[in-house]
């Protein structure tokens, strides 16, 4: 009997991927196990579904191309997250450059886009939270998302962002305080 993606261990997936005959099956299991987490991680960064779809596809293709070089020095999922994070940041930077070139106000556009996004059905509080998140520097936003929404240990976030646990704690604390202030300033609390 074949194991399902959630039952199979990372080592088993990697063993399948190392063999040319089982590469496709191994990669399919890897996607089934991790693609949803990667998608939500990217979606929180880029906001819109269509953009997240493009970025997650590029991420998975990059993973496929380089998975055989994975040396196992870090956890598989933190390695996957690192690729997804880099892809998302690259996408955001390109979008910013485009917005600058066309004189659009990218920052104010995101919350407007969210309100008009057919794949966003958040209430007033969620919209306020997303607006507050927009105001954070990119790294603080990443740290906040991974800690608050994904409840990731600092050690894993440190592996993904290649930084120290101390720096991450400081970033998270700053982010939480700023978001709380933004929510209070909106007069809802």
């Amino acid at each position: 009997m074949q194991s399902t993606a959630n039952e199979i261990t990372d080592n088993e997936i990697l063993s399948l991927i190392q063999e040319a005959t089982s590469l496709e099956r191994g990669f399919k299991l890897l996607m089934q196990k991790y693609q949803e987490r990667l998608y939500w991680h990217i979606r929180r960064m880029v906001y819109e579904h269509d953009d997240a779809n493009d970025v997650v596809q590029n991420t998975l293709i990059k993973i496929y191309r380089s998975i055989q070089k994975f040396e196992g020095k870090s956890k598989l999922y933190t390695w996957l997250y690192r690729i997804a994070t880099n892809e998302a940041i690259t996408f955001i930077n390109k979008r910013k450059r485009k917005a600058t070139a066309s004189l659009d106000d990218e920052e104010s556009g995101v919350s407007t886009q969210l309100a008009a996004d057919p794949y966003f059905d958040g209430d007033q509080v969620q919209l306020l939270l997303q607006k507050a998140l927009e105001t954070l520097p990119e790294k603080q936003r990443l740290v906040f998302n991974m800690r608050y929404y994904e409840e990731m240990p600092y050690k894993d976030i440190a592996e993904i962002l290649e930084t120290s646990v101390g720096a991450l704690k400081a970033s998270y604390h700053h982010a939480v305080k700023k978001i709380e202030s933004s929510l209070r300033a909106a007069d809802n609390y």
Binding site: L60, R65, Q126, Y148, Y149, E151, H173, L183
Partner: protein, 169 residues
């Protein structure tokens, strides 16, 4: 290893307000999106995977070097070197080029006559007259015997018609 409770306790300590909020984001995806995503990505990678895996290392190195050559700095450097090489070759070659007068001395009198006969009509008469004057002056300054000159004048005078002389006067 931190547990979910540790993470929640930390948030509660930092911001009781945020810790009480429901962690729902409001983002949605189209129906059966993740099933389709798996199929789409698998289709993309399997149709393009073979050449990516099978490229030998030496080809990758070669393509890296080729790509590096076309980087602006490298390309400018190579272009400068090429330009200097061409300029150097031209400079040294120009010293060894053959003298055009020496080349002319190799042409036989028959060939020269033939060339002049063929092309005489193309020359401006005024230009020919100038050349004639110049050569005449240089010829006069050279050591031509007076007897020969006198004979030449006599012949010229004999050739001119008396009527023409009257017209000129």
């Amino acid at each position: 290893m931190e547990s979910r409770k540790d993470i929640q306790d930390e948030l509660n300590e930092l911001s009781p307000l945020l810790s009480k909020l429901e962690k729902r984001e409001g983002f949605q995806v189209p129906p059966r999106y993740f099933e389709k995503l798996t199929q789409e990505v698998l289709h993309n990678v399997t149709t393009e995977s073979t050449p990516i895996v099978s490229v030998p290392q030496w080809q990758q190195n070669l393509s890296n070097i080729w790509a590096a050559i076309w980087q602006p700095k490298m390309a400018m450097g190579l272009a400068t070197i090429a330009l200097l090489a061409v300029a150097t070759t031209f400079f040294f070659d120009s010293g060894t080029t053959t003298d055009p007068l020496a080349e002319l001395s190799n042409i036989s009198d028959e060939e020269l006559d033939f060339f002049i006969e063929e092309n005489i009509d193309e020359y401006d008469m005024a230009l020919l007259a100038d050349i004639d004057d110049a050569t005449s002056e240089s010829a006069l300054s050279s050591d031509i015997d007076d007897d020969i000159l006198n004979e030449l004048y006599q012949q010229t005078i004999d050739d001119i018609d008396v009527l023409e002389l009257e017209e000129l006067l």
